[in-house]
């Protein structure tokens, strides 16, 4: 029974840590499917986390926070889009530039506005997306197995986690079942063909970047106003890169990407649980090594799955019309 409770708790924190990952990974997926490599997920996430926390701290409303977070992220997505589309710039370099600039700008602004050494003030419960108890969760809590599953695992997450759960099928539906999705996928594989059909490559790619910006903005918002209670320096801690790795592992497809994010979330949750626990045979693993786990896993996954072949063919290359 104790093992069962343990597993439920572990899965519960898996869902929580996977939320920002899956949102960012979907953002990267939409961008790359349209032909733009977006290594700037990390920076967008950090910018959104900061903007959301700052706006929530000032207005007292997590909704205003979310709006600011999404706004900041969409702005950066469009900047990256403009550099990639209009400027025909190197997309990896542009993404890295955004990551580095945000890593400098966010704490600078935080310090200017709040004078707390590069952080935002701690957010009160009313300024955060606090946990939502689903209907009947309390009533069902005592029912064996199902009660624990429902009231511990499914109930009691923040709004953005539920939103993410709803967005995954929505993005999949958009990509595979709508005309827009078909065009989006086509423009990442063969922009010449899309252009020949009289559809604007440029417009499609900008649209993709807006969607990516919104998703990534939600991902950052959940970090600072859902899971955490404020912005702290470098709070994205490489999650944007992990999301990118999850997307590659998920072969640029929504459902496998979701599974990859859950795996990363699980490893992250596991490393939290392993801290200070003595394992049989090995003994206690130093905390620094458990913290390495998600990063090591990423390398192993990327090494095990030579995924480049599955990448959208035109991703990373600017589209230039022949004159």
């Amino acid at each position: 029974m104790e093992f069962f409770t343990d597993m439920i708790l572990l899965m519960d924190s898996t869902l929580r840590t996977a939320t920002p990952l899956v949102l960012a990974a979907l953002a990267g997926l939409v961008a790359e499917r349209s032909g733009i490599v977006d290594i700037g997920l990390e920076g967008k996430m950090l910018a959104a986390a900061f903007a959301a926390a700052a706006a929530a701290a000032v207005t007292g409303s997590p909704w205003m926070g979310m709006l600011a977070g999404v706004g900041a992220s969409v702005f950066l997505a469009l900047l990256h889009g403009w550099v990639s589309i209009a400027q025909r710039g190197n997309q990896i370099v542009s993404g890295m530039a955004i990551n580095i600039a945000v890593a400098g700008l966010a704490p600078t602004l935080a310090n200017f506005w709040f004078q707390k050494g590069g952080q935002t003030p701690l957010l009160g419960d009313e300024a955060r997306f606090s946990t939502i108890t689903l209907p009947f969760a309390d009533a069902l809590a005592d029912v064996p197995v199902i009660g624990a599953l429902y009231s511990e695992l499914i109930s009691g997450h923040n709004l953005i986690t539920y939103l993410a759960a709803a967005l995954i099928p929505l993005v999949a539906w958009m990509l595979y079942k709508t005309r827009f999705g078909l065009r989006l996928r086509a423009v990442g594989e063969n922009p010449e063909a899309v252009d020949t059909a009289g559809i604007s490559v440029t417009l499609l790619r900008y649209q993709a970047m807006v969607i990516a910006g919104v998703l990534c903005g939600l991902s950052g918002s959940v970090l600072s106003t859902g899971l955490g209670g404020g912005f702290i320096r470098d709070m994205s801690a490489g999650k944007g890169y992990l999301a990118l790795a999850a997307m590659i592992f998920g072969r640029w497809k929504p459902v496998p990407t979701l599974l990859a994010c859950l795996l990363f979330g699980f490893v992250d949750a596991l490393q939290g649980r392993l801290q200070g626990v003595a394992l049989p045979l090995i003994g206690e693993i130093p905390v620094q090594f458990t913290m390495m786990l998600p990063y090591v896993l990423t390398v192993v996954i990327l090494a095990g799955f030579a995924g480049r072949m599955d990448a959208p063919k035109a991703s990373g290359t600017p589209y230039e019309k022949d004159h």
Partner: protein, 368 residues
């Protein structure tokens, strides 16, 4: 479309980088203005802090030395078509290799220890780049993501060692014991004193000369050897390289290891020159600055040395600025870096296209 006329050398090598830099500075200035400070006053404080007094100049060159190493590291990989973002982690491992070498033979012979430390720094940095390089070459795992992961792993590894086996006996901080007496690189003011000059004491040390030697070495390797030629062919066109019988796998791995070795040598300046012990996170983001330095310097060693001095001035001047203006912290310098990478690395066409148009206009007029 008519054949594009190439820009004259000076426009390509001086005018365009200057325009990019000015654009980045303009945005940076706007941010300062937004923070309620006077951008021009900030600029003058920075220039004064970086060049206004002997100690300031010493620090400017001291920081520049770090950036020459990390900038060269980025550019060697870039010439082979690889984007090495792992300079940070490679520098950390370089610092570890250096420290191990020092403690291994420091008590036997300081001179031997210094020599072995230089080898250790380069070897460990290069080794840390090996795995991402191999995975890129053999498995197609994107080197950008794997090197970033290796940065996180290196940071955790160093944190573990510095509160564990390598921690100063009885110490509380994440740092190693002090290096044995005499195991250090000579400070340049001491060298100057031997030559009869006096210079205010500062952190600038022999690594600055080692860095310049590395720059010359990289130039020679890339443009004066067959190996360098092959490396650049791989970077320009992998298919052409394969047709020419060049092993792309081999070149990828070697280029990344040279790159990692150069990044690893950053520790010579910070640890063997100044701190004389291993510190957790002594790299302070200098590995990332290398990206900005390489793009700003057009990936040419001469440009990199100049760009490194610019960033050295920016760091030293920025430290003074943070001291004088309460709204501006050291984070602000990181923002400038990001903007420089954006304008010099990714938005090259912003000025190149108009400038080319202007030049074409004039050359057509002359022809007519």
């Amino acid at each position: 479309m008519a054949a594009q006329k190439k820009l004259p050398f000076w426009a390509d090598a001086i005018l365009l980088p200057t325009l990019n830099l000015l654009a980045a500075f303009l945005v940076s200035g706007l941010v300062i203005w937004g923070l309620g400070e006077d951008p021009l006053e900030a600029l003058s404080l920075m220039v004064d802090g970086a060049f206004g007094f002997q100690e300031g100049v010493g620090y400017t060159f001291y920081y520049a030395t770090n950036f020459v190493f990390t900038g060269l590291a980025v550019s060697v990989a870039y010439h082979a078509g690889l984007f090495n973002i792992g300079g940070e982690g490679q520098a950390m491992l370089g610092g570890l290799g250096l420290t191990l070498a020092v403690f291994l033979v420091g008590d036997v012979s300081p001179v031997l220890a210094v020599l072995l430390a230089i080898v250790g720094a380069a070897a460990f940095g290069g080794a840390w780049a090996f795995i991402p390089a191999y995975l890129q070459a053999k498995r197609g795992s994107h080197v950008v993501i794997t090197t970033i992961m290796f940065n996180f792993i290196a940071s955790a590894l160093l944190a573990y060692l510095l509160v564990g086996p390598l921690q100063r006996p009885g110490g509380q901080m994440p740092e190693s014991a002090d290096f044995p007496d005499g195991v250090s690189l000579m400070h340049l003011q001491d060298l100057f004193a031997m030559m009869g000059f006096t210079y205010e004491s500062g952190p600038l040390n022999l690594s600055a000369l080692i860095a310049v030697l590395c720059a010359v070495g990289v130039w020679f390797m890339l443009w004066r050897t067959r190996f360098g030629y092959e490396l650049r062919v791989v970077g320009q066109n992998q298919n052409a390289a394969r047709y020419a019988g060049i092993s792309v796998t081999r070149m990828t791995v070697i280029a990344m290891m040279i790159s990692g070795g150069l990044a690893g040598m950053m520790g010579l300046n910070e640890l063997l020159g100044e701190q004389l012990r291993l510190l957790g996170n002594f790299t302070l983001g200098y590995g990332f600055v290398g990206i900005a330095v390489a793009f700003m310097g057009r990936n040419h060693p001469v440009g990199i040395v100049l760009a490194a001095m610019l960033f050295g001035a920016l760091y030293q001047g920025g430290a003074e600025l943070a001291f004088e203006m309460p709204n501006i912290q050291r984070d602000y310098i990181v923002l400038i870096q990001g903007l420089v990478i954006l304008f010099a690395g990714a938005m090259e066409h912003l000025f190149r296209d108009p400038v080319e148009r202007v030049f074409r206009h004039f050359s057509e007029r002359r022809a007519a």
